[in-house]
Symmetry: C3
C-alpha cells in the first residue's frame, strides 16, 4: 500500500479487515512521525489517529490550518501575488522532510462539483509528498471511516448480511464523501446491499453501479441486518438543498421492519433529524467510533511496512 | 475517586494534599490517554495537565473546541435542525472510546445564573462519559486550582493559619468558580477563614455557610498568614458590573497589616487593578502555578487507580 | 549558551554548524519539556521543533496564542483594566514552572520600527523566564533559520563560496527578520557576500556593515555559488509598500548568470512573484527546511547542556 486515499489503494479488503481486528499494540512506529493536517473540523478522526499513532509508538503532530497555519495556494503555476502565502507543493514537500506519513482532511467546498470531484487538495498532497498520504476525509471519500464500518459489520458475525444504505434528512446539503466511500468498500465484502433515498439524491454512477436502488424506504428496510444511515446533498443539483423530506428520519418504527437490524452512522449525527434518540441509543455508532482506532492502526502499519 | 469535579469527590482532603506533595514521577499511566477538552482559554491548566500526564507516562490529547471541533448541542432530546452539529452525549461517549480519562473546561456564560449553576456542560460529560471526568474549571468550581492552593498553604508549614479571602476590583464581572471552590476546600483543613468583600458581592450561601464575613477589608487583613485574593461578579445581580470599588485593590500597605501574610492568587491576574505589582512580585502565585502539576498528577493517579 | 535569540548567543558558529550535522538522536532530553509559544502562523518552525524535541526524547507542548490563550499585556507597570488578561511576566514565569526551555514566535507588527526593533515580546520572555528562551522568529531576527541556512551551505562543500543575497518582490512589506539574521550569521563563515536590492530597501546599518551592496541585481549574480533570496519591506519607510519592482523576480535567466549557483529561500515563498517555479523546483529550499530539524536539535541540546 503506497497511500490510503480510496479503496483502490487496498489490494485485499477482507484481509485488511481481519488484520485490523487482530492487530496488537507494538513499537513498529518507534521514532516515526505522522503529520495530521486538518483544513476542517474533526473529533473522531483527530483523536483516533493520535491514539492509533501512539499505540504503534509513533509521534503524531497535528496542524489545524484554520488557526496556526499559512494560507495555502492550490493552483499549479499560480502567480502568488494575492492572499495565499504558501503553495501546497511546498507545504507537502516540506512536511515530507519532517513526517514519515502525512494525513490530510480536506472537505468538499460544496460549490463546484467538478472542483470537488477533482480532489484538488488531497491529490496535491499525493502528488507532491515524498511520503505516503492518508485521507482523513477528502471532498468525495472517507476510507478510514469505511474500513472502520466494515470492521464493525465483520464483528457482528453475520454471514452475507443484508445492508440497507439509507439517506436521511439534514438542514444542510452535506458532502457525499462518507456514502460514496461506504458503497465503494461494501462492494468488496459478501453482502446484499440495497440503497434507498428520495428521488433527486442519486449519487455519481461509478459508486452505485450494480447496486439495487429502492425509492421506498420502508420497503427497503424489510429484512435488513444493518441500516447504514447517512445524509447527503444532491449530486445533480450540487450544493443545493432540494427538499426537507422529513419523513425519511430513521425511527424505531422503521427499524422494527428490519431483521433485528443494527443502526449504523459515522457521527456526528443530528439527533431527531437524521434518526431519533431511541434509534441512536440502541445502535452500533460508538462501536464504529471505537473501531476508527483499529482502522487507523492497520493503515499506519501497512504504510510503515510498505509491503501490503 | 470516580470523578474529580468538586471537593465532594474526595474522601480525605488532607491525605490527598500530602499524597500530592509526596508523589514521584512514574509509569502508572503508561499506554493511557487523557483527553483535554477546552471550551475556553487556558494557560496553566492546559500546560500543567499535559506536564502531569507526561510525568505519569500518559498521552495527553488536547481538543480546543473554538478552533477545530464541531459545534456542540447540550439540550436533552433536542431536534438538531439548526446550528449545533454534535450532541454532547455523542461527544462524551465517543471520547470515552479513545480516552481513559476526560478533562473538560467549560466556563460560566455569565448570562443565566440558574443555567451556570446547573453545570450543564460538565454534568453532561459526567453523565455520558464511561470514563472518569476531571473538571478543568467549570461554571461554578475549579477544584484542581483549590487543591494546588491547599498544597501551597501546606508547604508553608504554618499550624492553623489565618486565611483572609478577599474580593478585588476587575473591569469585568467574573465567574465565582475559583472562589466558590476555594471556600469548599479550605473548610476541609485546620484554618481560621475570614471572607471580606464589598456589600453586594455575597456568594451563594452553600459556599459561605459557617464562614465569618467582614465587610471591612483592612480590619479583615489584620493578623492574616495568607491573603487569598480573587475578583468575582455579583451572585445577586448575576452577570452585572455593580461597581468599581477601586479602593479594594490589594496594596503593600494593606499587606503590611497582616502577620507577614503571603499573597495568593490563581492567575491570570490584572496587575495594578486586582493587586499592585509590588504585592504580586512578592507572593506565592508562581508556587501556586507550579503546584498545579502536583495537583493534576495526584488526581490522574487516583483516577487511574480508581481506588481512593 | 544561555538563550538562543541571536548569533550573539553563540560562541563559535562554525563549530555549532558542524555539531548540528553530526548530531545523532539521543535521550538527552528525557523527561524534559519544551513549551512552544506561537503568536503567529508557522509550519516549518512548529513541525521541526516538535520533531527535534522528540528526537531528543523531550516533550514538546504547543501554545497557539491566537486560539486558546489569554490576551497578553507587554507594558511594564501597566494598569490592566482594559482588554489584556495576563501580563507577559506572569506568563513567562508560569511557563518556567512547567517547561525546561521556552520557544517564542513573535513577529514584527510592522507599524512602529522602534517598537519592533526593541523586541518587546521576545525580550520580555528572556527577562522574565527562569529557563532558557529560543527565538522561533522574532520581530527582527530568525536565528534557527539562519543556522539551518549555514548548515545547508556547509553541506554543499564549496570552499569560500560567493553568496549573493537578493531582495525580491512581494505584495506586502515583510519584516526584515530573516534577512537581518542571515547577514548576522553569514559574516561568521568564510564567504564572499554581496547584497543586492533596489534603492530604498537599505537595511539597518548594523546588519550591512562591511557587506558589499550592488544595486544591479544581474551584475551581483555573476559568479555566485549561492543566491539567497528574500523579500523585505523598507527599513527607512517602515511598514510601507514603496514599489513593486517586479523585474526583481528571480528567474532562470538570472540564475544562468551565476556559477551554477544554488537558489536558497527560507519558505514560505510566493511562487512566480519572488522567484519562478523553475527556479524554486531546482533549488535547496527543501534541504533548508529539512535542516531546520538539525538546527533545532543542536540548539535544544546546547540549552539542555548549558555548557556551550
Amino acid at each position: 500500500m503506497k497511500n490510503f486515499c480510496s479503496v483502490k489503494d487496498v489490494e485485499n479488503v477482507a484481509q485488511l479487515v481481519e488484520e485490523a481486528i487482530a492487530l496488537k499494540n507494538s513499537n513498529i512506529g518507534d521514532g516515526k512521525t505522522v503529520g495530521l493536517v486538518f483544513f476542517n473540523s474533526s473529533l473522531r478522526t483527530r483523536l483516533s489517529m493520535q491514539k492509533a499513532a501512539q499505540n504503534l509508538g509513533m509521534n503524531p503532530i497535528v496542524m489545524n490550518m484554520k488557526e496556526g497555519g499559512w494560507s495555502i495556494e492550490f493552483e499549479e503555476g499560480a502567480i502568488m501575488n494575492s492572499n495565499s502565502q504558501e503553495h501546497v507543493k511546498d507545504m507537502a514537500r516540506v512536511m515530507s522532510q519532517y513526517c514519515d506519513i502525512i494525513g490530510v482532511r480536506a472537505f468538499a467546498d460544496g460549490k463546484s462539483r467538478e472542483g470537488d470531484y477533482e480532489e484538488k487538495v488531497l491529490n496535491a498532497f499525493v502528488q507532491y509528498s515524498t511520503v505516503p498520504v492518508i485521507s482523513l476525509e477528502s471532498a468525495t471519500l472517507h476510507p478510514l471511516q469505511s474500513l472502520a464500518d466494515l470492521i464493525t459489520i465483520k464483528q457482528q458475525g453475520i454471514k452475507k448480511p443484508k445492508i440497507v444504505v439509507t439517506w436521511a434528512p439534514h438542514p444542510r446539503p452535506l458532502a457525499q464523501a462518507v456514502i460514496n466511500s461506504f458503497l465503494e468498500w461494501v462492494k468488496k465484502i459478501e453482502a446484499e446491499v440495497v440503497l434507498t433515498h428520495p428521488k433527486g439524491y442519486e449519487l455519481k454512477e461509478e459508486f452505485t453501479a450494480k447496486i439495487e436502488v429502492n425509492y421506498n424506504q420502508e420497503e427497503a428496510f424489510k429484512g435488513a441486518d444493518f441500516v447504514y444511515c447517512k445524509s447527503w446533498g444532491s449530486y445533480k443539483d450540487y450544493g443545493k438543498h432540494i427538499g426537507d423530506n422529513n419523513d425519511w428520519t430513521v425511527t424505531q418504527e422503521k427499524m422494527n421492519l428490519t431483521n433485528h437490524g443494527k443502526f449504523m452512522h459515522c457521527l456526528p449525527i443530528r439527533r431527531n433529524v437524521v434518526a431519533t434518540d431511541e434509534v441512536i441509543d440502541n445502535s452500533l455508532v460508538y462501536q464504529q467510533a471505537a473501531n476508527r482506532v483499529l482502522s487507523a492502526q492497520v493503515v499506519l502499519k501497512k504504510l510503515i511496512e510498505k509491503g501490503y
